[in-house]
Amino acid sequence: MATPDRQMISDSQSQPAQSSAEPPAPAFALPKIHAKDVNFFYGAYQALHSISMDVFANKVTAFIGPSGCGKSTFLRTFNRMNEAIRNTRVQGELLLNGESLFSMDVTTVRRRVGMVFQKSNPFPKTIFDNVAYGLRVNGVKGSVIKDEVEKSLRRAALWNEVKDTLHKPASALSGGQQQRLCIARALAVEPEVLLLDEPCSALDPIATLKIEELLFQIKDITTIVIVTHNMQQAARVADFTGFFFMGKLIEFDDTRVVFQNPSKKETEDYVTGRFG
C-alpha cells in the first residue's frame, strides 16, 4: 500500500515546533516547498536518492534531465500524487510553508498544490463544468462559481476563445486550448503551488509559446514547478533549474548558472547536448 513512512513524518513534524521558539524568519526567506533527504521507492526499486532542495515563492522552478531520471516522480511527491500508485513508498521531509505535507489531509494538499499533466485531461464535461469542478469539490456553491470560472479562464488566457462556447464539451477544443483549460481548472482553486508535468510535450510551437507566456503571467499569483524535456524551455521560463540524473538531483541553481556555468560535469554534458 502507498503509505508514506510514518517515522520520517514524525521527524518532520517536530521540526516546526523547535523553530517556533526562535524569532520568525522573514517571509522571503521561507521556501514555499522545502524538501530534505527525499527517497522514493517503487516496490524495491529506489527511484529517488536523498533529494534536498527548496522551491521559492512566486518563482518558476524547472526540473530537467533525461527520461527516467526521476524528475516527474519527484514532482509528484509535492502533491502526494504517487500515493495513487500501488506499492510505492516515500521517505524524508517535505514541507509546504513550513508545514509537513504528510501531516495534512491529502485532499488539502492537492487543493493547495495543483497539478497539470503531460497529456491534457479535460473531463468529459462542458468547458464551464471542467473549470467549476475543483470549486464544487471544495464546497464552493452558487453564483460565485460563475465569476470564478471567468476569472480562471481569463488568467489562463482562454476566456476570449471560449466565452461563447462555455457549455460545449471540452473535448471540442484544440490540444493547446485543452491544456490551457487544464491550467484554468487548476488555477480555479487558487493553489499556492502549480506543478506542471511536461505540459507542452504534446503541443505545437505556437501553443507551447502561449503556455510559456501564461506561466510568466501567473507566477505573480502562484509558485510554479515545471518538469520539461525541452532545455530551451527551461532556459526561457525558469528562474531556477534542477538537473536530475539517475534519481539524484545533480545540480540545483539559478537557471543562468545551470546553463552557462554549471559546476558539475554531468550537468554541462547534458545542457550542451552531449548526452540525453
Binding site: G114, K119, F123, K125, V137, A186
Partner: protein, 285 residues
C-alpha cells in the same frame, strides 16, 4: 519450377480455406435468417390488436390475447433490473476501482461461474428462497430469479467499462482535491455512462427471453396477476405453455407471442447500440 509448385499449393490452400470459412458463415447466417423470417411470417400473420389488449381465452374462442403476459413480463423485468443492476454496478465499481488484484480475480472467477450456472438452477434457488417460505408462486420470485441472472453480466460490464476510462482522468480529479469516491462518481462513471447504459440494456434483453427460471417462480396465470406477491403470466412461459398444447389456435398465439418478444428484444438491442454509437462519436469529438 519449384516456385510455380509452391504458388499453386498456396493458391489451392487459399481457395479451400476461403471456401470453408465462407461456407461456415453462410450456414450460420442462413439459419439465423431462416428462424427470424419464419418467426416474422408465422408470428406476424397471427398478430392482431386483440393480442395486446385481451386476456387469453379457452381454445376454440377467437379474440384471445396476452395482455397479462406482456404486463407480467414488464413487471418481472423491472424487478430484475432493480435487483441486478444496482448490485452488479456497485460490485463492478468496487472491482474496478478499489479491490486488490487477488480479491478481484477471485470475484471475477466466481462471477463467471455464476454466469455459467444453468438458468433452471437459478430458478430453483429463487424457488427455495422465496416461493417455498411464502408457499406460493409470485411475480417477486420471478423478478428475483431474473435479477440474480443479471448480476454477473452487470458486474463484468461495469468493471470493463470503468477500467477502460484512462487513469489520467482520475488523476486530474484527484489533483483538484477530489476524494476517491467523488472522483469515481462525478468523473469516471459519467465518462463511462453510455457504455454502462447500453451494457445494462443488452443484459436486460438477454434475460427477457429466459423461460426456465420463471417456470416455478412466476409460474403463469391465465388472468391478470393480483399483485407482486401473486403468480403472473410472462411471454416466455406463455410461449412454452401454448406451444406444447394440442390446439392449433394456441400454436398461432404462441407464434404471435414469439414475434412480440423478439420485437421487444430487438428494440432494446438497437437502442443500446444507438447509445453506444452516440457515446463513441461524442468521445471522439
Amino acid at each position: 519450377m519449384i516456385t510455380g509448385d509452391i504458388s499453386l499449393m498456396r493458391r489451392v490452400t487459399n481457395v479451400a480455406m476461403l471456401g470453408l470459412t465462407g461456407l461456415s458463415t453462410l450456414v450460420v447466417v442462413s439459419i439465423l435468417f431462416f428462424i427470424l423470417g419464419y418467426l416474422l411470417w408465422m408470428g406476424g400473420s397471427s398478430l392482431s390488436i386483440q393480442f395486446f389488449t385481451n386476456l387469453p381465452k379457452p381454445t376454440g374462442e377467437t379474440g384471445g390475447g396476452m395482455a397479462n403476459a406482456i404486463v407480467g413480463s414488464g413487471k418481472t423485468l423491472l424487478l430484475a433490473s432493480l435487483i441486478g443492476v444496482p448490485i452488479g454496478f456497485l460490485g463492478g465499481v468496487y472491482l474496478a476501482e478499489y479491490s486488490g488484484r487477488t480479491f478481484a480475480f477471485l470475484v471475477r472467477y466466481v462471477t463467471d461461474l455464476l454466469n455459467g450456472v444453468p438458468s433452471i438452477v437459478i430458478g430453483i434457488v429463487a424457488y427455495a428462497l422465496i416461493v417455498k417460505p411464502m408457499s406460493h408462486f409470485s411475480t417477486l420470485a420471478g423478478g428475483v430469479a431474473l435479477g440474480i441472472m443479471m448480476i454477473p453480466i452487470a458486474l463484468r460490464t461495469t468493471e470493463e467499462f470503468l477500467r477502460s476510462i484512462p487513469n489520467s482522468l482520475r488523476e486530474g480529479a484527484m489533483a483538484l482535491g477530489a476524494t476517491r469516491s467523488r472522483t469515481i462518481f462525478t468523473v469516471v462513471v459519467p465518462a463511462a455512462m453510455s457504455g454502462l447504459t447500453s451494457g445494462m440494456m443488452l443484459n436486460l434483453a438477454r434475460v427477457a427471453g429466459e423461460t426456465a427460471p420463471l417456470l416455478f417462480t412466476a409460474l403463469g396465470n391465465m388472468f391478470w396477476s393480483q399483485g407482486w406477491m401473486q403468480p403472473t403470466a410472462t411471454l416466455p412461459v406463455m410461449i412454452y405453455t401454448y406451444a406444447i398444447s394440442a390446439y392449433d389456435d394456441w400454436h398461432q398465439q404462441a407464434w404471435a407471442a414469439g414475434f412480440v418478444l423478439l420485437a421487444l428484444v430487438l428494440t432494446i438491442n438497437i437502442t443500446a447500440r444507438l447509445i453506444i454509437g452516440r457515446g463513441a462519436s461524442s468521445a471522439r469529438r
